[in-house]
Every structure is written in structure tokens, then in C-alpha cells.
Symmetry: C2
Subunit: 86 residues, 2 copies
């Protein structure tokens, strides 16, 4: 079944406390070349038929994201995109 | 600065109550061709220098994901990947 991925991220100007917490933890793991960390949501929608990306954008705008503080992107998931164990 | 995207999703066999809640809400918005919804985390790491993806995988394994219940993928963010307002 075709899958659509909606990535929702806080707008750049919005403070990201979760990302900040991860960024602060990195030096203790010996990672000191990370300038910033941003954390958002990845939403995978599996469709029974051919998905209409415009309708998914509308859906993202109404239900999946808060357009006041978040940006989102919508795309068809490619075969390589599924989160396979790496 | 180069950005790496780590996508963390629950393993397929793990129940996803968040995704279930969204899936249940869709018919009320007139969307009835969605078979399933899975919700995970998208983590964007901005590097000061050239990122080493193997090291990022190690980092994801230790800090960003819970390997017992989650799968993750690591990739360099392409120009089109940034969450721009759509």
C-alpha cells in the first residue's frame, strides 16, 4: 500500500527544549561537532488507494500540525524511506 | 552547515496509540482511505563539520532511539528535505 510521510518540525524561530536537551547531552558522549538539534514528528500514513497529496496537505494543516508554530512537508515514501533496522 | 536526519519509528509489531488516535479521527474529517497511521520522531542534527554517519548511528542507538522497541534510519538531509512551509 502506498505510504505518505508527513514531517512536522517546529518553525526555526520557535525554541525547541527537547532538541536543546539532546544537544546538551552530546558532549558527555564525546560528540562536540553538533551545532544544533531539532526534534519533530514523522507521521506515516498508509493509503488503501492512490493518495492525493493536496488532500494530505489539507489534513496536515487541520489535524497533524499546528501551522502557527510548526512547518510540515508531505511526500510519497520511497522504498528506501521505510524505517528499517540499521 | 550539513544536516543529518534521524527518523525514529516504533517497530511494526509495537502498538502505536498515538497513530491509532489519529487514524480514528480521520473519518470525521471525511478521510476514509487511510489504512494505518504511524507516528515517530524526526531528529535533525546540524554539524559544524562533515558528519560521520556511522558515528551518528552509534549516537542514535545510545541516545536518540530505544533499540528494543524502535527502528531508526540515518541519512544526510538533501536541500529539498528541510521542512519548509508548504
Amino acid at each position: 500500500m502506498p505510504r505518505v510521510v508527513v514531517d512536522v518540525m517546529l518553525k526555526p524561530e520557535i525554541l525547541d527544549p527537547q532538541g536543546q536537551a539532546v544537544a546538551n547531552a552530546l558532549p558527555s558522549l564525546g560528540v562536540d561537532d553538533v551545532a544544533s538539534v531539532r526534534i519533530g514528528r514523522r507521521i506515516e500514513l498508509e493509503f488503501t488507494g492512490e493518495p492525493d497529496l493536496d488532500r494530505v496537505r489539507e489534513l496536515a494543516d487541520k489535524l497533524l500540525a499546528n501551522p502557527v508554530i510548526e512547518d510540515f512537508t508531505v511526500r510519497l515514501a520511497g522504498a528506501d524511506e521505510s524505517a528499517v533496522p540499521s
